[in-house]
Subunit: 477 residues, 2 copies
């Protein structure tokens, strides 16, 4: 029997101005985790959340994470964890979000004050953190409040985990999640994260996969110090000459990675999987718009989505140690460090990728016959993640989307990574669902970040509806 | 008949402390031309020179050069021109030097105060400008004074041209030289510039050639803005991918330029020229010491010197617009600009070099089949210069070296450029000689710049002796 949601939905509409005020208060706290001087604001934002949760009747704890690695004078902001409901007859759903935000300043080119929520006549609510991730985090609180005011029984026990360092590498969180997996998070039946975006602007989606990322440095060094090209050009082997040749050997213009063995690690495309791509609401014009050009690798939608979601890619990001300013400088840099990364997909094990990369780069360098010194290292690796979109956690969410938005959601993956997703899956052993609230035009991490009022209010309905459906969905998979 | 120089030489020795004091006063004026706030010091240095020259009986003028291009509030420092002697029966020699210096600060790592001449127990005189170029400039003044005090007739009419912007591109000087070629400089019979260095530390040299430099930018652009490699990796053609492939196609590890036609522009090596290299005082250990490594292209001295002096070289300097900081950033840069330059030699006409470079880079880019946009441009070009070392100006200088130092000078070229050399040659139509005072260890442009007391005092003798020999050398060539 479909859940009775009309009273809840109506209450959300009634409280919509109140919910926007709550978001306004949250956006007004500049909880920038990357900025040491803003740390008190991050802490204040955690307290705001904890206070709101307490007022709603949740049991709240602020868990310290210790000092920030490399900055021993600086305390990490606490993880705010909370439980709402403790009924053995109900399922328990664990949700995650983050209350810190990216840096923002009017001087970067914002049209409005970044830490003042500004709603325009099209219902676009501008402000840093509006969509990433204060809107979705408050979505859970708003769902609780609307249930209370509508007099609708809350369908699940809700475990919440809100961190304050996501935009700065989630310092300390992995260990915390692992440590609490069989304690605070022990009775979670499924996990839901609302911290990503629709593929477009009109159609909601559920996200079941993320690519991983292995980031490499390749250093070439030779001379004892930078040299003048007039004096030494033609007599010294130049590290830059070697480095651009190595970087130029990694991938071609059409995205084909040149490292032998890498393609063989990729899971073959099944007919079943291939059939998913045709119906996704995405056009090449969407890509061109977000690219700001038509310089795409693939001519069609399916190849483009597969290239983003289920095939690896290699990008060369830049070079450290070379001349990088405007103008002209006749330097021969003594030591240059190329940076490149590979987006990884099933079934590429990070260790296998490292092995193939190091072997290939070494071979390329040996072929140069250079007297310079090469050093290729892994800077960091985050593994890809793929969940089964047929799990009851996803089918419940799909029903909720259909109920709120009147359409079946697209099943999508993302090209980027959200490392905490894999951590929750591995630590709890439970299915993780990514359930986005905002749309592709929200400009998270950019200037003029916004969340559409429609996505916020309907999103609150969706989060609540999801909890109702997931409470009673038959536990298949 | 060899000139009678003993009285002059003795007087130079007698006045050596006085000459060092003159250098001390000059070094104490921080005439940094690159630093707008030091402009009054540059002007003060020009006045110091003019006053000293006037006191020696020279006719001095301070010629204004107008406003500094791009900085219309800033007056360029004047060119100090002077004439000492106006005897129709004597030859007229035009000498050039510069009274401005490179920036310097104790905080850069200087062991002493950069603007206080500090003489150590080995006679090394540390101070910014000591060797580049205040020592040599004062050398001409000291030679005049020593002649006067020794009662030795000055052998030539001396025309002097001392500029104050050499370390910042010699703004305004080219036009001035061209304009004065048939006026102030009209009766010059030969030109001498003392603003470079010995090849080593023990053997003096005369320099008869400089390489030119053609500096290029190669820009590749595509997307409308920087992209995130998670979202766009594998779907967008990346400008960096194209650029590193183009930069990697320009030159190999062994210095071989890959641009067809360029090698054919180079003047063939004659047996006559080849024979010059064997006797040059230079060892591979000198190269390794200055490189700070043994990562040389060539295994022997002759090939190394030819590669520096008479063959072109290509260096990749860096990339503008890519990620250049330490750490990791997963950016796909939207527009990247590679910088490279070619050191040019006889008979490479800069226009021919441009044509071959543009053609090759265009072809390489076309071969990539990229949708991105390429734009390769010349940033600036300075032409190579080679004089005949058999000209009477050089043979006179060689005799002076032998008289002062007791050895025949090496005939050298330089790998770098001194653009004013070519300007003087073209404007006056006269032979130009580079007659260095300092040695290879003087660290011009670096911290701890110095001039050895021996090089200064014997250098003053050399400049005076040169004027005697050049006054009577038979005018061959
Ligand atoms: Zn986020
Ligand atoms: Zn974010
Ligand atoms: Zn100089
Ligand atoms: Zn200089």
């Amino acid at each position: 029997m479909a859940p009775q949601l009309d009273g809840y939905f109506k209450q959300v509409d009634t409280l919509s101005d109140h919910f926007i005020e709550r978001l306004r208060k949250a956006v007004a706290i500049p909880s920038v985790s990357a900025d040491e001087e803003r740390r008190p604001d991050v802490v204040r934002m955690g307290e705001f959340l904890a206070d709101e949760l307490s007022a709603l009747g949740a049991q709240v704890e602020k868990r310290p994470l210790g000092k920030q690695p490399g900055k021993e004078h600086l305390e990490l902001p606490p993880v705010v964890i909370a439980r709402y409901g403790n009924d053995k007859n109900k399922r328990t759903i664990l949700v995650y979000g983050h209350y810190d935000v990216q840096p923002a300043g009017k001087e970067d080119g914002w049209a409005t004050e970044p830490f003042e929520l500004t709603v325009d006549d099209k219902g676009r609510m501008y402000g840093r953190g509006s969509t990433d991730d204060k809107g979705p985090v408050l979505g859970w609180l708003n769902a609780i409040e609307a249930h209370q005011k509508a007099g609708v029984d809350f369908p699940v026990n809700l475990l919440m985990c809100f961190e304050g360092m996501e935009e700065y590498g989630s310092e300390g969180l992995d260990d915390f999640i692992k440590a609490e997996a069989d304690k605070y998070f022990a009775d979670a039946d499924a996990v839901c994260i609302s911290d990503n975006y629709w593929l477009g602007t009109e159609k909601p989606c559920l996200t079941y996969g993320l690519r991983g990322c292995s980031y490499y440095s390749v250093e070439v060094s030779g001379p004892g110090q930078d040299l003048h090209s007039g004096v030494f050009g033609g007599t010294a082997q130049e590290p830059m000459t070697d480095l651009v040749r190595i970087l130029g050997s990694l991938v071609d213009t059409h995205g084909k990675i040149q490292i032998p063995g890498l393609a063989e690690l990729v899971a073959p495309l099944t007919d079943d999987e291939k059939s998913l791509y045709g119906n996704i609401a995405f056009e090449m014009s969407n890509l061109y718009e977000s690219l700001g050009s038509e310089t795409s690798i693939h001519p069609d939608k399916e190849k483009t989505l597969m290239a983003r979601w289920r095939y690896p890619s290699l990008s060369v990001h830049g070079i450290e140690g070379a001349f990088s300013q405007p103008g002209a400088k006749t330097v021969i840099p003594a030591k240059v460090i190329g940076k490149f990364s590979i987006r990884t997909v099933p079934n590429m094990e990070p260790e296998d990728v490292d092995r193939l990369v190091f072997k290939y780069v070494d071979e390329q360098f040996k072929n140069l016959g250079s007297k310079n010194t090469l050093n290729c290292t892994l800077q960091h690796a985050g593994k890809w993640w793929v969940a089964s979109p047929k799990h009851w956690n996803f089918s419940a969410a799909a029903k909720a989307v259909e109920r709120v938005w009147g359409v079946q959601p697209d099943l999508t993956r993302e090209g980027g990574s959200i490392p905490v997703t894999l951590t929750f899956e591995q630590a709890t052993g439970k299915n993780v669902l990514l359930l986005p609230m905002g749309s592709s035009t929200d400009a998270a991490h950019s200037i003029n970040e916004k969340l559409d009022k429609r996505n916020y209010i309907e999103g609150i309905k969706l989060l609540g509806a999801y909890l109702h459906y997931v409470a009673e969905e038959p536990m298949s998979n």
